[in-house]
Amino acid sequence: MEIRLSGILLAAALLSGCGWFHRGDKRPQPVVAEEQSTEPSIVEPQVNRREVKTPKIKAKDFELGGYFGALSIQDFGVNPVYGVRAAYHVSEDIFLEGFLARSKAGTTSLEDVFPEITVVSNSGRQFTYYDLDVGYNVLPGEIFLGRGRAFNSALYVTFGMGDVHFADKDQFALNFGAGERLLITDWLAMHLDVRDHVFETDLTGRTKNVHNIEAILGLTAFY
């Protein structure tokens, strides 16, 4: 009796031991339609079990690109400007945008008439700015080219602030403007912007706000 009991106990211990070793690997039980024990159903379910991996949807909310144009530096003539811009589209209406650009100022009328006078040194003529803006798509729409082509577009306004480095000094500058974004494809956009950079300066003798208006043409890609 005792021998039999210990035999049973041993077997139980062994079995539980085996069970212990198999605890780690959770082998999935094959899913088999259960045998019809009570009533046979009319339709045999044929379920094709498989692992479903859902790919992620790529968000293309970032816009990155470059631009060039003409910047009218007050008192210093109209000069070429080129820069880079990056935007993040928060909603279909609102976007945040950053600009970084440079230009080189020409000469003032005073310097043209009296060549011996220098208002700003040569290195000081570098005009560099950065801007952080909020934009709003005021008039989204479509632009038609002939009968068969339509391009998505938006007329937007931007407002922001930044730093203008001019005459070897950094000035706080506000900027505001409006632009048109034309999507050549869904990921490539053309921009036409007119923006004004306003800052205070005393370069020409008295302290005043100067307006530096630029008209720029840009190309951006959505990521």
Partner: protein
């Protein structure tokens, strides 16, 4: 090799095609009576195509709250997030259209704004990581533009949001340390151009829309100098941020 190929072919034949083999595009089944496709990612763009119930559309990518999709016969158009979220996967599960992050529990945040630092105009940018819903680590880079000097200030600190579940207005308080660099504009030159600093801050934050929020902050700095007295300027600022 051959049985492997055969089984692969079999697998291909049996799978209804949740995953496109080459482009890895999400495919969803229209579960509502129809799905409207617009010509552009905006509320005003006209509906150019309608996909019927049980038809499969491929989701190409998203822009803000709109998704570009491709219909079974190749037509492409934009579908609103709320409508695409009503579609299903081939196995009947709801389509995995990620919801917007919850404002109260968001983790990442980047923002920019305007402020005044010691009577100087201030341009500020920040990045923020939430350790918990109410405790953040903030990294702030800012430029103060004045008539006399131009300061660059970098600071890192901890911020506590008192009631994060208050959506529209929730007070905050913070403490941190940083570094400033003074770029002098007019003589005399400052005795020190590089300083360490510390600050305490009080502020507030609030939700605007989707993943957009505002933040206002007041800071009191102690700028450590090698003179008898430390500088103690104040700063306030207001900015807009995007959270993820």
């Amino acid at each position: 090799m051959r049985p492997l190929l055969a089984s692969l072919l079999l697998l291909q034949a049996f799978s209804v095609g949740v995953v496109h083999a080459k482009q890895q595009l999400l495919e969803v089944v229209v579960a509502e009576p129809y799905l409207e496709m617009h010509s552009g990612p905006g509320r005003g763009y006209p509906v150019v195509y309608v996909v019927g119930r049980d038809e499969v559309v491929q989701v190409l990518y998203s822009r803000t709250e709109w998704y570009k999709v491709r219909a079974p016969r190749g037509q492409e158009g934009w579908v609103r997030r709320a409508e695409l979220a009503l579609t299903k996967l081939a196995n009947g599960d709801p389509a995995p259209i990620p919801p917007y992050p919850e404002f109260a529990t968001h983790r990442w945040e980047i923002g920019a704004g305007y402020g005044v630092f010691n009577h100087q105009n201030l341009v500020t940018t920040w990045g923020d990581f939430g350790l918990t819903d109410s405790l953040d680590v903030e990294l702030v880079l800012q430029q103060a533009l004045g008539n006399i000097d131009n300061r660059y200030i970098a600071s890192v600190g901890m911020r506590h949001t008192f009631i994060p579940e208050w959506r529209w207005f929730s007070p905050t308080a913070g403490i941190g340390t940083g570094y400033q660099y003074i770029d002098n504009k007019v003589p005399p030159a400052p005795l020190q151009t590089h300083n360490e600093l510390a600050y305490v801050s009080l502020g507030a934050r609030g939700f605007i829309t989707r993943r957009f929020m505002w933040r206002a902050d007041w800071r009191k700095y102690v700028i450590f100098t090698n003179q008898n007295q430390n500088e103690e300027p104040e700063e306030w600022k207001f900015g807009l941020a995007v959270f993820f």
